[in-house]
Symmetry: D2
Subunit: 336 residues, 4 copies
């Protein structure tokens, strides 16, 4: 870590800073330039608070060399992590497709969709029982009953299940869930992350709408610091000025994360774009960019034409996407 001091910083301030850093067990390498002084901090700087240091009167700028994440860092763990999600492997070359409806609505719906997506090639089943909604007046999910229906669908089809948690207090209900999802809005719900760190179960962590990749890894680090190393990262679009899509899918995040971390990275093109016709091109683009998996919304309700055209695909459209995905899979670009 490099700390650049301002012109004219008094010697006593420099000494105070030195003592502060030495008190944290760091060694200091001073370098005197023409009109600035540079402190190089040597040792484990993970615990140094960049923002605090940067805001000091004497400090012009702070520059980390060592990344602030350790457990998630590929430098200290060169081999890809392979997550075992209820018997299905993700990462390290293993590619999976998670599919299912946005919300769990009924037993018939879940079992029909589960069978359809399995037949089309999905290897995990998704469905929301707890739904984060901007409005308190919108449908909030079936909760406990929704989890029961998901487990029923798992029993019927053998597909491991992925579903979202919104509060650590609900954890007892998630015991038989294979992969616990943390939504974008909870990416920095640190108390929840700490609780998930105590589990030994895969966590699917979605990137927040205005968060950087380093912040995503710092949130993964919260889970991993607790001892749970089974984290799957998910790119799901970020907020930009563009209004033609719900969010902007950041596909360069995939090869960038591959270099930063050993954790598997999947993409959710349904939520990122919010438009069903964009799911296929973005799914294929995710695959060639090197993704370890996809998460795709599929609905199945022939009588309920209302949902046509939403971000969800019909099972037939999903089968077409899954088939195309298989065809471009050999072209995945996975070099570091």
């Amino acid at each position: 870590m490099i700390v650049i001091l301002k012109d004219g910083t008094k010697q006593e301030q420099v000494i105070k800073l030195q003592q502060y850093f030495e008190g944290m067990g760091l060694r200091i390498h001073m370098s005197q330039g023409e009109n600035s002084t540079i402190m190089g901090l040597i040792g484990d700087t993970t615990r140094v608070d960049d923002e605090l240091i940067a805001s000091l009167d004497a400090v012009e700028a702070v520059r980390r060399i060592q990344e602030p994440y350790k457990n998630a860092n590929r430098k200290f763990h060169p081999a890809d992590t392979v997550v075992d999600a209820g018997g299905v492997k993700i990462g390290g070359g293993y590619f999976q497709i998670i599919a299912g409806p946005c919300s769990v609505e009924s037993e018939t719906q879940m079992i029909t969709v589960a069978r359809a997506v399995k037949a089309a090639g999905a290897t995990l089943l998704r469905g929301g029982a707890f739904k984060p909604r901007t409005s308190p007046y919108a449908f909030q999910g079936l909760h406990e009953e929704g989890l029961r229906l998901l487990l029923k669908a798992k029993e019927e089809t053998g597909l491991p299940i992925v579903t979202e948690i919104m509060d650590a207090a609900h954890l007892p209900l998630f015991e038989q869930v294979d992969v616990i999802q943390v939504g974008a809005r909870n990416m920095q719900n640190f108390e929840l992350l700490k609780e998930l760190g105590k589990l030994r179960k895969p966590i699917l962590l979605k990137r927040g709408l205005a968060n950087t990749l380093q912040e995503l890894l710092m949130s993964a680090e919260y889970i991993m610091a607790g001892g749970n190393e089974q984290v799957i990262l998910c790119e799901r679009g970020i907020r930009t000025f563009e209004t033609a899509t719900r969010n902007t899918l950041d596909l360069s995040a995939i090869p960038v994360l591959r270099q930063m971390t050993h954790l598997p990275v999947i993409v959710d093109p349904s939520h990122a774009t919010g438009v069903s016709r964009l799911v296929k091109p973005m799914a294929l683009a995710s695959v060639v960019s090197g993704a370890d998996g996809l998460m795709i919304e599929v609905h199945n309700d022939p009588r309920h034409a209302l949902c046509d055209g939403a971000q969800s695909l019909t099972p037939e459209a999903f089968a077409d996407v899954a088939e195309q995905v298989r065809q471009v899979l050999p072209f995945r670009c996975r070099t570091l």
Copy 2:
């Protein structure tokens, strides 16, 4: 609510949509243009899911006329809400200054700062016992002990206290807290908001780093829908491309919110800018923009020069800000 249908939408799709909206208790007013059809939905559209409707194949665009928030809406509640924060009033002309350290560190620190800010004119005391930190390796606050020290400082000075909650599971510890703060990263932690809606105690709700004012009001609506109408909104800067400040303080949010809602609006210039020398000009600008209060970080540790220049002010600098604030208070621009 206006739903604009695409060119060439089939009559059967139009009828399905009509039936769907009628099933929600809405009346429909159809208007046929040259190459588009417009549905006007009449009645309580709060429960209509804009995103779902907008994503339908047949729909070109959706436009709300009625805002999706009711309890927070000034249209249905023209008079300013005055929040009683431990005996101190905020809103409806009452202006308050909340001051105190970023983190609660020790009894001496808390009591010294509390006395100093009280002497300088602060009317509420702030201090963090639970600290949301990007890194799991950073100091996370004194927790229960921190709350105890805050209450001690309240006892000594009589200042009501404001402190942040990060998980509803901690609520039992907050019983004697006067104002419970929800941080920017938890603005859309909906499960937490629902729990706070069950209380009858003021909630200080900070705007998320990339959230719109309507989203802020929807989060206030979560609390209010539970019956807790004592919500104070706080502008604390949003994420932009600018790097010279930590965030960008959005001061036009104050007069805009004044028109949208009857809730009091305060500003936190310390966190918004991250630079102590910017606190004074931004505090004054907040006041003339019509803010109902300020939240300012003040530290007090003469031996601990490390923190000089951080976003925190010394008690002396705070006294100067508070004095200037009093002078510009007559120029607050509070017309709707």
Copy 3:
């Protein structure tokens, strides 16, 4: 176009508005809701100024149904435009790779790179003679001499050339240039666009760093309104909070633009990411997303190792990318 009036708008204001719109040759369809009035404007609303109307006291909101662009609109021109770029076709199924160095530096450099990229499969040659640089102290390009060297390289290899213009006053120098490029920072340099509209030569228009796709099409419309319909659009990354890449490549822009417009859309993964190792995955992702072409930076200066690792590829790395691109080309997702 829908104009939604505010509650309590006076009848005389409504009549003034009606007269104003009728004066523009529009017919008006009024629709009276419970607490709002909706005006539907029928006819050619291209000349209506949305922002002006939206800012009127009486107006709650304005919603376009008809897009504000006509010449670029696929609705009025369903077939793909095929641009002839010096004998090479782009769009409508034709896919091309534009390659070459960032800046034209010398005759040897240009001819060596031109031969190398041609051998690897590039079909157009790029190179900057006028360079937009943030700093006035940075190298600004070889100007007239640079254009001469580009033409020399064209003569040697037969590759048509693409190069950037920064001021309409330089147009006389661009007579023999095959495709004139407008950079991201000039996307809304309207005087330049108008001058380019007078030409009958392909224009490659890059998206601005913080511009929406509709704004990009409005800039294309400036060129097309002058009678020049040979416009190629280029996605080159937008500004976001992410710092791991120079900009964020917005690949969903490709299928979205395909629906909005009949103009060809290409992608510049070199400038978008600013990192050479990301060029390959993003090039492949662009192709499967449906792009009509790629623009890739290639340098060739074995003695000048300084540039290794910049956003430019070596000719060998470029040949590998071009080969992979050919392999995924059959998987381009080009459905509307």
Copy 4:
């Protein structure tokens, strides 16, 4: 300037870099850390291209200590610049209000507004003759005739005039204009900036919609590098996710710029917010934040009720704002 090299960079690459920097006349101070090497560059690094260096294979990160702007830098020019705008001083304690209509429309309009704003306290007159419009179909201004009418209004009232230029080719028409404005969309039209650098006349440079303050200063530097030191900076709102206002006014930019540069800084609350009722609170907030002036849109057309409520104020509303501005002027926060 600090260049941080990656782990495992080969000695020969280090030597090449050293030679490259030495070739630019810089001295190098090497500092060897545990797992990284830091190069400190000493001398005039203004000409070093950060982006190029940062993108090299061997380089982990680049950090400027010296700012890349010289002429605009307060470090090298501690005293405030006072710009003489047609006899009226701005900066260094002098505060001015520029007012007038968005577009010049007719002689009657210009003279009526000019007299009204002068009576209310404006000291410069604004009006657009060349209008940058997103759509080619929108009114583009009266051009030469508009400039003639502005000069007529100046003759009548004695107010110096401020008006926007969109292309250097129009410069001959601007000979008698007192202050030439560069709009937000042209902030990085570098060819235009270079031409303006050749003049000896005040330039009002507006910040681009998604540009940082450093980028704004680099654009000022383009003008100043040509020898024209009379640059006035203007904050006019940046693009954010918020939709309640047209742009987000960044008021912390004022005290931040005051430290970075000696140039005067003014604020345009009319364009920033796009809503007339927000002009007053944002004008007052700008003043206490330390602005050197305001630029406010005022229209005057009692028969043309259409424009009521737009971003323009009536002369009466403007007189009220001007009066309030005078009252808060003593509270301007101008400390560095």
